[in-house]
């Protein structure tokens, strides 16, 4: 079969065709090559105008005439022009039936070729357009990415500002509360009349309650802002349980509720996790249990479950209290929710405690759940993934049998009976706080020297002989962190005096910064009398350690 095409049809189908004579000279072009190379190229030897890139080794027109394989040419004068096709002998002439093969990476080809350069069956045009479209889409996606990154950065900056605000608010709220609670602590043991003592105790209870609400709101806000990071440190769960039990004892004393602590399969090794956050969950759940129990027992069980590769610390807090109506269980862990409005009125609270517990549990990859029967009590269970430290916990192992530790005969006010009178240097810039701290410490039988800022405390430490330094953090001029670093750098005995932070900066990062600066302990304002006594006891061990 012979297919005969008119010149115009050939131009339309293959706009980049070439016709060469038997002598190798170009006799004609299709319209595309005519546009790019011009009429002046006609008559010139084909191999002067084009380089044959494929097949390799074609160096003469005679070679091309005998070539049956596809050929690839590049125009010597217009480098972006690459053509592919076949060479067919047509009588004495050679017809090269070609289409464009644009360099897709080269902008020149993209910008110079036009639709008429491509025949209607030439898919190269689709590839060229596809390349342009894809580049456009990529640019578009890149712009979107840049915009989203900018938004993310703005959101992070806003979040950071919010965290800073929360930290500042925490400090600003706790500072005056220190004066209120410390003052009341001093007042209630000053030999008041019964009526005065009752009023002072009521004021103290209100202050404690207010502080609890502030802590909840600040904690919750911080969790919502994503500003809470977890620690991964070794801790012994039973020590943690005992610590919480001691912390909660004033509440149980007050209400006549017994609080029991026991353990189930707790390993002797320390666990790795965030004891501060686990303590917070325990305190919240136990406080709730005590709050909603009129009489009976609140039992806390610390357990350890191993299931294949997964190990969990289990906290179970069971009470014999009001119980929770079934319809309230579904929303119990939602923020600002309490079981019903009447309990809200009776028991108060912002309704954030369980939401905080759930957020902290989620943050640690754990699960919190509750089972409850109205009128009989509730049981909250928290399971938190944890790993075991390699070595057993060092010292404070307690018996691993269930036990009731609480005793109704516990004294309600700790007696001011120091084992040794201490000479204490205090750095505190707020006069009200100075007054309260001085009163508490003197009431506990210690000597107090007051300083107003970092410079003063460094000078006093260097010139005096002190057993303990209590250091506020935020002070004008040299702050407590810098003052600590400078005292630790002194070439005198003052460099080894125990330093305890006493600050309204209440977050775990603050504690870390204090310890890194060289402090030995950390107290969060407002400091109550119990905490004072325990800290002063602990400070003896700092001194013993340093002496050894």
């Amino acid at each position: 079969m012979t297919l005969s095409l008119s010149p115009s049809t050939l131009d339309m189908l293959l706009p980049a065709h070439i016709l060469a004579g038997g002598d190798g000279a170009i006799h004609g072009f299709g319209p595309s090559l005519l546009r790019h190379l011009g009429e002046e190229a006609i008559g010139k030897p084909l191999l002067d105008v084009f380089t044959i890139e494929r097949p390799v080794g074609i160096s003469s027109f005679a070679d091309l005439q005998n070539e049956k394989r596809p050929i690839l040419l590049r125009a010597n004068a217009v480098r972006f022009l690459r053509l592919r096709g076949v060479a067919l002998q047509d009588g004495s002439e050679l017809r090269l039936l070609l289409g464009h093969v644009p360099d897709l990476g080269g902008k020149e080809a993209m910008h110079s070729l036009q639709f008429p350069d491509f025949g209607p069956t030439d898919g190269s045009l689709d590839v060229v357009l596809s390349t342009v479209v894809r580049e456009g889409l990529l640019e578009d996606t890149q712009r979107l990415l840049t915009a989203l990154e900018a938004k993310k950065a703005a959101a992070e900056a806003a979040n950071e500002a919010k965290s800073r605000f929360l930290a500042q608010m925490s400090h600003e709220l706790r500072t005056p509360m220190n004066g209120v609670m410390g003052g009341l602590d001093v007042l209630v043991v000053m030999g008041l009349t019964a009526e005065q003592a009752e009023l002072a105790t009521a004021a103290k209870k209100s202050a404690v309650s207010l502080l609890g609400q502030l802590d909840e709101i600040l904690d919750f806000s911080r969790l919502e802002a994503g500003g809470v990071s977890l620690e991964e440190i070794p801790f012994q769960p039973l020590d943690l349980g005992r610590e919480v039990q001691t912390l909660m004892s004033p509440l149980e004393d007050e209400r006549g509720i017994r609080l029991s602590l026991s353990c189930d399969n707790i390993p002797p090794n320390s666990l790795i996790g965030d004891p501060g956050r686990i303590r917070q969950i325990l305190v919240n759940l136990i406080s709730n249990a005590i709050k909603f129990t009129e009489q009976g027992v609140v039992s806390v069980v610390l357990g350890w479950d191993e299931n294949g590769d997964q190990s969990n610390l289990r906290l179970t807090i069971k009470d014999t209290g009001l119980g929770i109506p079934e319809e309230a269980l579904a929303t119990l862990f939602d923020r600002f929710v309490q079981a019903d409005s009447s309990t809200n009125r009776k028991h108060g609270g912002a309704g954030l405690g369980l939401a905080i517990c759930q957020q902290l549990t989620d943050l640690m990859g754990g699960v919190i759940s509750v089972e409850s029967t109205e009128g009989k009590g509730s049981e909250f269970t928290v399971t938190i993934p944890a790993t075991m430290a390699e070595r057993p916990a060092p010292t404070t192992a307690m018996p691993v049998q269930p036990q009731v530790v609480t005793d109704k005969s516990r004294p309600k006010v700790l007696a001011p009976a120091p084992t040794q009178q201490l000479n204490i240097l205090v750095a505190e810039d707020i006069v009200l706080n100075q007054t309260v701290i001085q009163a508490v410490l003197q009431q506990l039988g210690h000597q107090v020297t007051l300083t107003n800022d970092g410079e003063e405390v460094i000078t006093a430490a260097e010139t005096g002989a002190f057993d303990l330094i209590l250091m506020d953090i935020q002070m004008p001029g040299v702050d407590g962190l810098e003052a600590t670093r400078r005292i630790r750098a002194l070439n005198s005995p003052a460099a080894t005096v125990p330093i305890v932070a006493m600050t309204a900066h209440a977050f775990s990062d603050d504690r870390k910064r204090c310890l890194e600066a060289g402090m030995d302990d950390f107290m969060t304002k407002p400091v109550n009398r119990t905490v004072w006594v325990k800290m002063l006891e602990r400070s003896q061990s700092f001194r013993t350690r340093q002496a050894s």
Partner: protein, 188 residues
């Protein structure tokens, strides 16, 4: 339609009415995701909602908004990353219109879900061009699309430094547009 249309609509509003107007339009559409991606396919409902809301917020008729958007579409496509395609399609209105279907066909290789319209150049002379526009969307959106194409052809006239009058009449299988070139318009 592909997100490229929405990006053009956004550009249109931002250029002519400012960023706040676009934010207002997006808020009014109540779309949950306003980050349009050019290469992603969106339901036509989204596009229609945006364009109708744009008209409402800008206080113009849908017809006027579509014409203005059609003109802007040429500016957007002719000056964005897709400009090389525009340039390859021709350096005169006549050639461009001849190649428009081929352009759409080739772009479908990259945007396979696109329901591209057809522009068939029925005749071209120094005085006028006659183009048959066909789209499977005409059934439900004949009015707005006719105004969009009117704006688009007007934008193309401007792109190729021409001016003229555009009229349209419904045809059996589409809409026929007549572009009377400015010199011819003046002589008439």
């Amino acid at each position: 339609m592909y997100g490229m249309i929405h990006k053009a609509a956004e550009d249109f509003v931002r250029v002519h009415n400012g960023p706040a107007a676009w934010d207002e339009i997006i808020a009014a559409t109540e779309l949950t995701d306003a980050h349009f991606i050019s290469g992603r396919w969106y339901e036509d409902d989204v596009t229609v909602k945006i364009l109708v809301t744009t008209a409402e917020v800008l206080g113009v008729s849908v017809e006027d908004a579509m014409e203005a958007f059609g003109r802007h579409w040429v500016v957007f496509a002719g000056s964005s990353a897709y400009k090389p395609i525009f340039d390859m399609a021709g350096d005169s209105l006549d050639v461009f219109m001849t190649n428009l279907d081929r352009m759409h066909d080739s772009i479908r290789a990259t945007m396979p879900e696109a329901r591209m319209p057809s522009f068939h150049l029925l005749s071209a002379s120094e005085t006028e061009l006659i183009v048959l526009y066909q789209s499977d969307r005409l059934a439900g959106l004949a009015g707005p699309l006719t105004h969009f194409v009117t704006g688009l052809l007007d934008g193309l006239l401007a792109h190729f430094d021409e001016a003229g009058e555009i009229t349209s009449v419904p045809a059996d299988n589409g809409v026929t547009f007549t572009i009377r070139r400015a010199a011819a318009s003046a002589a008439a």
